[in-house]
Symmetry: C2
Subunit: 348 residues, 2 copies
């Protein structure tokens, strides 16, 4: 006897087969599939047995078409090539799977236009949900599309950026207050010239982080725009910014970066110029990507919890089945992870 999954390779098993085998109607089979309460124990058992015997699995497309709702959740990430988003994706995939959803991945590459294009298609895709995980500042058309999706019963959640004012449930991390605390610590260590790399243009989150830096320095009365460098979130940005600053003779003894990748690039530039970390310049990253612990010097950073965020996300998506009271906003804490790159007090 061939194994069930190999049987009838030609024609897939459908509800019709199950109904016949169980001696019930299509409707009853469907009710069992969908866990309807109004099925007698006897028939439920018959159907269950038949499904098992035939190795039946419902056709997701047919279900999707009929229900008007598919099984996939789209994850739109700023850029999967950035460590932060890769780690996030890992956890989101796992969380969605636990919920029985498929993950449709769409890489934005930080292009607003690509986001809008996807959203235009999204309406037709019968998605279960759309997860927006990007640091980029968003525009009106995006919010429009989000509202349309929401209106069609598609769960829309923002991961990392607060969009609750736009009616979109959001799971965010501390940003501003986290940088503020980190910079205050650098000040407490005796640093007077603290630079900031990563007030990324067009990045909502980048701006938040910068504001925390400014808060701390303004309170101390040592804020100076000349020590704020704008670039992207990638390695190159950190490297080039520091090189340029050094060329221009801008002095600094500590550096708060807007991302760990920026911090890595910055450290490379400092070493290229013969400066030691942390002796000559203390460096703090942002995000706690896993490789930070394997750098030498190991990278101090402001932690994030992609796993927690993913768990919350799954919960939010499930909750979306029932209409919510209003858009949720969940904030996750960041801890300062002190490692070698920012250790030791600065001598006055």
């Amino acid at each position: 006897m061939p194994s069930p999954s190999l049987a009838r390779a030609g024609r897939p098993i459908t509800v019709v087969d199950v109904a016949r085998q169980a001696g019930v109607s299509l409707a009853t089979v469907s009710r069992v599939i969908n866990g309807s309460a109004t099925v007698s124990a006897l028939k439920r058992e018959q159907v269950t047995q038949a499904m098992l015997a035939l190795d039946f699995r419902p056709d997701p497309m047919a279900q999707g078409l009929r229900r008007g709702q598919g099984n996939a959740v789209a994850l739109l990430v700023g850029d999967i090539a950035q460590r932060h988003f890769a780690e996030l994706t890992q956890h989101v995939q796992r969380a969605l799977e636990g919920q029985g959803y498929d993950l449709l991945l769409f890489n934005l590459g930080h292009q607003q236009q690509r986001l809008e294009q996807f959203l235009a298609r999204a309406l037709r895709m019968k998605l279960r949900g759309v997860v927006l995980a990007t640091s980029d500042a968003l525009t009106r058309p995006v919010f429009e599309a989000g509202r349309q999706l929401l209106a069609q019963g598609v769960a829309v959640v923002s991961l990392g950026q607060d969009l609750s004012r736009e009616g979109i449930g959001s799971i965010v991390h501390e940003e501003r207050s986290a940088t503020r605390r980190s910079v205050e610590r650098l000040l407490a260590l005796g640093h007077r010239q603290v630079a900031y790399v990563g007030r990324v243009k067009g990045s909502a989150i980048g701006t938040e982080r910068f504001l925390g830096y400014r808060d701390a320095l303004q309170a101390a009365g040592t804020f100076d725009p000349v020590r704020v460098w704008d670039m992207s979130f990638r390695y190159t940005a950190g490297h080039e910014s520091v090189m340029r600053a050094l060329d221009e003779g801008i002095s600094f003894t500590a550096l708060q970066a807007g991302s760990d990748e920026i911090a890595m690039g910055a450290i490379a530039a400092l070493e290229d110029r013969g400066l030691r970390v942390p002796q000559d310049v203390a460096v703090v990253g942002f995000g706690d990507i896993d490789l930070g612990a394997y750098l030498r010097p190991a990278l101090s950073t402001l932690s994030s919890s992609p796993q927690l965020a993913a768990t919350q996300l799954a919960e939010l998506l499930r909750a979306a089945e029932a209409p919510a009271a209003g858009p949720v906003r969940i904030e996750l804490p960041r801890e300062l992870v002190e490692r070698a790159s920012s250790q030791g007090a600065r001598k006055p």
Copy 2:
């Protein structure tokens, strides 16, 4: 007048609407959608106009159900948290998008069981294709499932591992010969004790890379299993392996790693023990992840070309529409990227 996409937010536009507006039958609309040749220029124009006016887009689920073939390609990656796979995913997403396919991401986390589970579901998902991107050695059930999918018209392609003997088209990089060349170069620089970290158990690719190392050392008559360390592909593995070897008093002046992440972990361990790279120990990674250039010392490595691989993949998927002569095998070259971590000749 409201914008077309906002019109009728309640009821989606279907082929029925288009047919009515264009004054033709459903069949004709469908023929235009699918680019059938047998439509008169006049009707084609009418339908096209109607679709434009109504902002009509076909329902992918309905199309999928009827055609027996959806629009998604599943990408199964070894572990998205590994840099290498994240970069691959980035390029695959772009390539698939160019082909009009959606990307369904499934993270294996290197668990054979998860792969088998997915494959069991895959048959029902009406996928366009399945892309297997894992370094792990595969088992018979996986090949079985692959053949079943192939038989059902699902394109199956292996990325990174040669499965052409199993009837699965494969896009691979040089592995064995690449490591061999790299190690030969280390020997030429005067190194006599070259260690290898990363003959990962259960990794087909890891084994290939190791064999290239062994080829080179056996030819030189200096192969010694005590300098071969097995672990995983991650940072921790590199760090722990080197720590242990140092503890055990195993000597070596050069290190070939099975991945860049391993190399990073190894370098951290070396520095932790006060050894300098490359002066005391030269290190070469494998894979050319983008951050290698931003490490200090910058990481020498054996390049890969995820972009090229993704392009080839898209081509293979498209070609899969027509039945091929036999499983293809495409090999991409690796170049040695010489950076600081392995520079300079070893003094005898």
